[in-house]
Symmetry: C2
Subunit: 410 residues, 2 copies
């Protein structure tokens, strides 16, 4: 049993006409006029195929194919139609069309699965408003505080809510009973080059990485860049640079595939002829495994203290935002691998280093996702591209994975 390739590719093209940009991308920030257009089209598609359409208080759109089984739970298949401003036509949309086509193929085959199947378009995955908003609303993880101070600004949020007929209250009450859910499954473009370089068809995500961050402040002593002999200086930049270099080497050697980044640095006083007294360094690190993330944190703090001591500096390490690793469901991972196997597609296990809605669902239910290759790893860009065969693989693996999950339930 395979998906309908022609229908699938036609829908891939059609969705890309909403918010289309001249260079072949799409621009559909969450709940913008363009996003409302694609949402309207999606509702029509669901209704045209006699699936049950619904929209919840967070604007999440669903199309349901019901099971006849009493007390059946629901397996969500989804992604998002929203994009970053001037993004590509695959990020999110491929997952949506693959999920929708999976439902249509199962419906065409008149299969009665042991669970309800719902395709879901999750609101604001990209974060032009708040980030993985729809999925967090569904697990009850949004807060009033965040709604008052959303990442993209309150006005943009209220404008979007007005356009979609939503409200703060509706967002906060969109939670879905987790006991009613069997799980969540998503396919997404890789947004990286690991699959392409390894010439592998399917990347099975084992965990969406956790993220931790610090502002590390190294404090020494300002001094005249001429009169202060170098061996008497307490140069905060030397300590910060030594830490950053050693940390980079350590993470590559001991914590692969974990990553660390130093994305911001601020010196004070900032002058050619003054030895820096203070350096603030932004440190962000990611790993898919909570224990390894703990170990990375310990090792990074130790390296920072060693560098500070070596250069006669004080260290202040201020912990910033963090996000827990979201391990994917073993049984769903196995189902995806079995699906790829059945289709004769090569596969590898990997971590997702970017955030996705699957991380929200992982907190309350089975959650899993897989990747197909992105040409040159380009993403969030009109040049984003995934070959038609890889898109079709995405939908076929999704379909087979659903069948594997059904099979595993007897």
């Amino acid at each position: 049993m395979m998906i309908n390739r022609e229908r699938f590719l036609r829908m891939m093209n059609e969705q890309a006409t909403f918010g289309a940009t001249p260079d072949g991308g799409v621009s559909r920030p969450a709940l913008s006029a363009e996003d409302m257009q694609v949402r309207d089209w999606f509702r029509q598609q669901i209704e045209a195929h006699q699936l049950t359409y619904a929209i919840d208080g967070a604007g999440n759109q669903t199309g349901r194919l019901s099971s006849s089984k009493p007390n059946a739970k629901t397996l969500l298949l989804g992604s998002h139609f929203d994009s970053v401003p001037n993004g590509g036509r695959f990020d999110g949309a491929l997952g949506m069309i693959a999920a929708f086509e999976t439902l249509l193929s199962i419906k065409d085959a008149n299969l009665d699965l042991p669970f309800h199947l719902e395709v879901v378009n999750l609101t604001d995955e990209e974060g032009t408003l708040m980030g993985i908003t729809g999925s967090r609303a569904m697990i009850g993880a949004l807060t009033h505080e965040e709604l008052m101070n959303p990442r993209g600004g309150r006005e943009r949020l209220t404008d979007g809510m007005a356009r979609a007929g939503l409200s703060d209250d509706s967002l906060l009450s969109a939670q879905r009973d987790p006991d009613s859910l069997l799980g969540y499954l998503e396919v997404h473009i890789e947004q990286g080059t690991r699959l392409e370089e390894a010439k592998v068809d399917i990347g099975v995500v084992t965990s969406i990485v956790g993220i931790r961050s610090y502002w590390m402040t190294f404090a020494g002593e300002a001094a005249h860049a001429g009169t202060k002999p170098m061996d008497k200086r307490r140069d905060a930049f030397w300590g910060a640079a030594a830490f950053a270099l050693r940390a980079q080497e350590m993470i590559m050697a001991d914590f692969h595939p974990g990553v660390v980044n130093f994305g911001q640095i601020h010196l004070a006083p900032s002058a050619f002829n003054i030895v820096p007294a203070e350096v603030r360094l932004a440190v962000e690190f990611r790993h898919g495994n909570r224990e390894e993330l703990d170990n990375m944190e310990t090792a990074l703090l130790e390296q920072a203290h060693l560098a500070a001591d070596e250069y006669g500096l004080e260290l202040d390490a201020e912990r910033g935002d963090s996000l827990r690793p979201a391990p994917m469901s073993d049984s769903f991972v196995n189902a995806i691998e079995a699906a790829a196997e059945k289709l004769g597609l090569s596969r590898t296990r990997l971590l997702s280093f970017a955030g996705h809605d699957a991380q929200s669902f992982a907190i309350v239910t089975n959650s899993a996702m897989f990747f197909v290759p992105s040409v040159d790893g380009i993403s969030h860009n009109p040049k984003e591209y995934t070959k038609p065969d890889d898109c079709v693989n995405a939908a076929n693996v999704m379909l087979q994975a659903v069948l594997e999950i059904a099979k595993s339930m007897g």
Copy 2:
């Protein structure tokens, strides 16, 4: 023959009453009302002691003790009475009072030297207007362009000139015939801790360091701090940090007492979760010897290129301001050392890493300077302090050095 200790210390205290600050320092920015007060007092002192007072087109005040020798040249003894805002009472002023006391002691002894002796208060050494302004005016090194765009702003300069009865034209025409000069001699507080730590009385400057600077731009590739594997990154910060660390170690190991500083750094894009694509690093280095400064420059550029290559980056090295090293006069250095010897004072040769008027005079005539210890190296600060005995040493070495120079002329 010794200076008059009591008179000398009395004048040291008296000068510090002009522009005095509550915490024991002085605030006499060049040609400010407070600077005009100390200038007026100095003129009165010169006249009261029957020396010949003059002021040139740059506001440089001189008190002259003439030689009876036909065609005698002039030996300038000087420093500056101006200070940084909220500075100390020794920086500049000690050199002025030591020079003045030297003239008075020679006059008291009725010595007829083979050169005219002039004490000189040089305008705006500190650079609240332009920097070593008076000495550069005397060697004809000021430009109309700089007067139009002075470091401290045009308004401050025009206000100061008005207060002192000067003009752009008068500053530009204040040049003194270099053939009329025998040389320039100055004593200054060290503004560092080398003498104090080595427990040495007198630091004989062999050269005022040259300074060169660069903006070095390391360019790599912006990337997602999660999805881009670390071994595929072209992280501009890694290259810049590696360069800075290696350069610091290299300069300390191979170019002592030369120094390097990295006083500013700017990352772009500057975000926690983006691998830096571009780093602009400010590099400033100093050495007393021109050839060594050339070698430092070559070695630093080589290290920067090596680091850029290693991390897959492009390097753009843009040369900024530079200042030539100013080697001091050998015969004057010898005279200062002989003077210290005669007085039973310990001495060491060293470089001046800060700028002084002696660097202007070194271009056209014999120029030399020496340092006495600064307690804890504190300077440009009301807490600046040099012990009375060290101040007296400054004046006595100045006096003996003048006598040594006279002796060497037969």
